[in-house]
């Protein structure tokens, strides 16, 4: 039997690689601010905390076209910030893959923050106090105690963000359009194939691919989490013992 129908065409490979690039960049840029905001929300109380919390979570509850549209207004060629970037630095974000990164970062950010926040808030404050009493500056406490103990949750958050970024559709198509080779990521390519006659087979190939990627991400996340949990001695075996 001939399995050549399973082979990806060059345009499909291009969409896959673009998606990967966008997702990797997205994960990298939200990593530090995600942990920072998660820490603020988990450990600190300040004026405007609930407002910050709401704003961070907004993309989760809004239809994705809304953040996409807002990004277009802000960063688009005619947008407030976009115009300034264009005139001062000659940088144009709209309709580029960098724009796609920003769109998916906005959409993935709340997932990252939620997961990291939960993990950070579950780190025993008593351990942090003990570390301080041993002479460690609060910053050192964060990097040597809080961060390592929250790592399983942070990693989960990053993988969720990565997956969300791979699947980002609404905000991306609204903000940066559907330009082949520049902004046409995997979901946009699938959408495009379903819109043209005879594109079903290509769409199906990409759908299967998406499922494989998503499943792998979830399994890797689970694996990392289990490894990290085992490392800090809170394995299932120990449950209820300590």
């Amino acid at each position: 039997m001939n399995f050549s129908f399973l082979l990806l065409s060059p345009t499909e490979i291009e969409a896959l690689l673009l998606s990967g690039k966008v997702a990797v960049f997205c994960t990298v840029i939200i990593c530090v601010p995600g942990v920072a905001v998660a820490w603020l929300l988990a450990k600190k109380s300040f004026i405007g905390k609930s407002l910050l919390d709401s704003i961070v979570h907004l993309p989760l509850v809004l239809p994705p076209v809304v953040p996409g549209f807002l990004l277009l207004i802000l960063l688009g060629g005619q947008g407030i910030i976009g115009k300034w970037l264009q005139s001062s630095f000659g940088i144009s974000i709209a309709f580029t893959w960098i724009g796609a990164v920003i769109a998916s970062a906005v959409m993935a950010f709340p997932l990252m923050v939620r997961s990291a926040r939960l993990a950070i808030s579950q780190v025993d404050a008593g351990l942090e106090a003990a570390a301080q009493s041993l002479g460690a500056h609060p910053l050192r406490v964060f990097f040597t105690i809080t961060l390592p103990l929250a790592m399983p949750g942070i990693v989960t958050g990053l993988i969720l963000a990565f997956s969300r970024s791979l699947g980002e559709f609404g905000a991306t198509i609204t903000f940066v359009g559907n330009i082949e080779g520049e902004t046409r990521t995997l979901p946009l390519a699938i959408y495009t194939y379903t819109q043209i006659p005879g594109g079903d087979l290509a769409a199906m190939r990409l759908v299967i691919l998406s499922m494989i990627i998503a499943l792998s991400a979830l399994m890797i996340s689970d694996l990392l989490e289990r490894k990290a949990t085992k490392n800090i001695g809170r394995g299932l075996r120990e449950k209820g013992n300590d």
């Binding site: 002479g135 460690a136 609060p138």
Partner: protein, 359 residues
Amino acid sequence: MIEFDFQRNQGDFNLNVKCHLRAPVIGLFGASGAGKSTLLNMIAGLVKPQSGQLNIDGEYLFDSLRGIDVPIHQRRIGVVFQDSRLFPHLNIRDNLNYGFDLLAAKDRRFSFKQIVDLLEIGHLLAQKPHQISGGEKQRVSLGRALLTSPRLLLLDEPLASLDVRLKHQILPFLRRIKDEIHIPMIYVSHAIDEILYITSEIVIIEQGQLLAQGHFHNIIHQDNLQKIAQSLGLENVIGAVITSHDKTYGSTTLTHGNQIIMVSLLAAETGAQVTISIPASSIALSLSRLENVTIQNQLQGLVTEIKQIGFRILVTVDIGESQIVAEVTAKALETLNIVVGNSVYCLIKAPVIRAHGFI
């Protein structure tokens, strides 16, 4: 020298304690909820007093009036918590080194090996905290704090979550720390025997207020401690001298004035001074010396006072060197017709006599 004066109001709990501690090792005693841990946390810097001062060896670590509040990590005060708080992601070696590594070499008073040997934890170094027992965890926690060469070590009920057997394994280590490496300590506990094993200098607090402070022997008979002394069976705390040991029968003979008292074998030299306590409820009275009885101690004395509190009758007997209190029932008192001025024998079984500072 530690001097503090802390105030903190939290709802209906008011803490207001002013204290000047001169002894190197202090036992801080109080019932649960008396404010012991809060006080300790204020010294460590983990809880901020609303007002007050903290001065250790002439240096102010906290002064609300002058706006001084030295951060926890700069106080050099070691804390051993009840729940040990070992870092779960680090092995025992890294736990021990956590504070040690942050310390400049010139500030290190002990070597890693010295502390590991003192606490006998060398075989645990490669393990993770979840792999070792509760008693071992507390020893590691103690070592971790000691390695930071603290100017003061705070122990917040370090044995409370351990069973009796483990407690007895750890107490000698605490005594070794006191005797061998001379670090000032404040030992918090609601178990008076634990405290007295380590030190006789105690501070007693109740409901956030200082109740008494000083040498246990000198303060335990204070009027305001009567209730506490009674609840702990410490109505009769007396000093005595060891005169001989009888290893065959497992007993030690003490003298208290011209009275001879037999107790269970004590691990101390002949001639040593000891403090013993006899619960009032464990003393029976007899009008004459008893023959054919297993009770070893029959201390003769004169009844000087008979006091009734509810159905409890407290009879004070002058035994020469001191006065001891026996609790008897109203019916027994009436049957024997004991009155002030009578000569009586205080009957005390040897095993009920507690010698403080021994386990």
